[in-house]
């Protein structure tokens, strides 16, 4: 007695083996692409948890006016929505910042070339403003407001989210999601093609089943069951292969004792979501096989 409800000899077909490897390959590639998206998303989330610090630069002002302007701007910045604090950068810090520049320019060969630079040179005054995690300040509007108080002021954004790195990370996330989805979509397209070819290949058996009173749904169920098993098998193979690569990329450098060029880390949720890729793909493949079979049968 049989244990599986398959009247069509789908397992014996070369198309069946083809589908197994196609599913495995595409699921593996999809997992890799989604892993890339997860890593990028992890970076974005990590950055979003940090307070965002921007630096307001006020143009040089006469010594008598500078402190007053710094105080007014600092007070205004502290009232900004989402601002955690606003603090002028001390003269000592400014001296430290310009020291390498002055030493390189021949202003002095000793280590104290920058000492007193803030008083000796017409340098801009800097104010650090930290915004709470999760707030998205409109830096353009803020800059305009500061410029109304002190014309010529600028805002420098050193936060990764506003930088080229941030854009690159977002691009990688979008790319990972898009290519992962494309690989899953390709698996579905392959299922449609294989189902149609299988129906043609087994048309005599399908005709026989119909002659016995089989409804389209009964015949389609054969393809559905076969696709489910094949997609699970292929998906698990692809998933296992992709996981080896992901684990190697994430944990490999640490295991070899080399610090990674870019620290990457997958959260527990990412591992769960990645392990869902073969499951969801198998379910989509199953549904697609059934729909493809029913629609093809209705035309015959």
């Amino acid at each position: 007695m049989r244990t599986l409800d398959l009247d069509l000899p789908l397992d014996a077909s070369p198309l069946s083996r083809f589908m197994l490897w196609v599913t495995g390959t595409l699921v593996g590639l999809a997992v890799l692409a989604f892993a890339l998206a997860s890593l990028a998303q992890g970076r974005i989330v990590e950055e979003a948890r940090r307070p965002r610090v921007v630096t307001v630069a006020l143009p040089p002002a006469p010594p008598g006016e500078a402190e007053g302007l710094v105080g007014r701007v600092t007070a205004m910045l502290e009232r900004e929505p989402g601002a955690a604090y606003a603090a002028p950068v001390s003269k000592a810090e400014i001296d430290g910042l310009v020291e390498p520049l002055l030493a390189g320019a021949g202003a002095g060969d000793n280590a104290g070339a920058g000492a007193g630079a803030a008083d000796r040179f017409p340098l801009p005054r800097l104010i650090d403003v930290a915004f709470n995690p999760g707030t998205a300040p409109d830096l353009g509007a803020l800059e305009r407001r500061v410029q109304r108080l002190v014309p010529g002021s600028t805002i420098g954004d050193a936060g990764p989210l506003g930088s080229d790195d941030g854009r690159l990370v977002r691009l990688l996330r979008a790319l990972g999601l898009a290519t992962g989805s494309v690989f899953v979509l390709l698996a579905l397209v392959a299922v449609v093609m294989v189902t149609r070819m299988s129906l043609r290949q087994h048309h005599e058996t399908v005709d026989l089943l119909r002659l016995m009173g089989a409804r389209d749904g009964y015949v389609a169920r054969q393809f559905e069951h076969h696709a489910l098993l094949g997609a699970f098998k292929g998906g698990l193979i692809g998933f296992a292969a992709a996981m080896l690569v992901v684990v190697g990329v994430v944990h490999g450098p640490a295991m070899l004792g080399d610090p990674p060029v870019v620290p990457v880390r997958l959260r527990p949720l990412d591992w769960v979501l990645l392990s869902m890729v073969p499951v969801v793909t198998a379910l989509l493949v199953t549904l697609t096989a059934r729909l493809a079979a029913v629609l093809t049968l209705r035309r015959t």
Partner: protein
């Protein structure tokens, strides 16, 4: 009736089969016996005219109802058409499963049918391990396991010796006795002579005699 735009193979046939009856469908090879059985088994649409089966015009029924009507018809094919990857048991179980029978009913009906036909020893064997006679019996078992209202048998005795032919006839007569309408096609003139059932005679696609 015509196949894919080819010339008509059956012409001007008007025929009513009575419920619970037994008919011989006779005629020379190529007369259109198989084509008429195809029409009756609802496997091929009529090019023109009307086929009414169990009181329903086949051209007007939907796919679901067509499937239900086909489930009430058993067909014995001349070439058996067994599924080679399934055992004799599963071949016979097919129509039951298609009709939605549960495993319990399948487990009860199929062995009973195979035992009745003397096939209990080969229940789990695939068709390739069966003799021609056994294959034919499996085909018959598959056709009658659902107790169809109408049984269509296409030349079931054409490839067997006279003794087996007589045994098969006995089987069909028994089924008829259980209330199944039977249409049995044969090019033999001997069988209709020995069994007193009405005959339908086809020649060159035309019904020339209906008793």
């Amino acid at each position: 009736m015509r196949y894919d735009g080819a010339a008509e193979v059956l012409h001007d046939i008007t025929l009513t089969l009575k419920s619970g009856s037994f008919y011989f469908l006779t005629g020379p090879v190529g007369a259109g016996k198989t084509s008429l059985l195809r029409l009756l088994s609802l496997s091929h649409p009529a090019y023109r005219g009307t086929i009414r089966v169990f009181g329903r015009d086949f051209a007007l029924v939907g796919r679901e109802e067509a499937a239900r009507l086909r489930q009430r018809i058993g067909v014995v094919f001349q070439d058996f058409r067994l599924l080679e990857h399934l055992s004799a048991f599963d071949n016979v179980a097919l129509p039951l499963r298609i009709a939605g029978a549960d495993d319990e009913r399948v487990a009860a009906s199929v062995p009973e049918m195979l035992r009745w036909l003397g096939l209990d020893a080969v229940m789990e064997a695939p068709p390739r391990q069966l003799s021609m006679g056994e294959r034919q019996l499996v085909c018959i078992a598959r056709a009658v396991v659902t107790r169809p209202a109408l049984l269509l048998a296409d030349e079931p005795t054409s490839n067997v010796d006279p003794e087996r032919a007589e045994r098969l006839m006995h089987l069909f007569v028994q089924l008829h006795g259980l209330g199944t309408s039977v249409v049995l096609s044969t090019h033999s003139q001997d069988l209709p002579r020995r069994h007193p059932f009405p005959g339908l005679r086809l020649e060159a696609g035309r019904l020339v005699a209906a008793a």
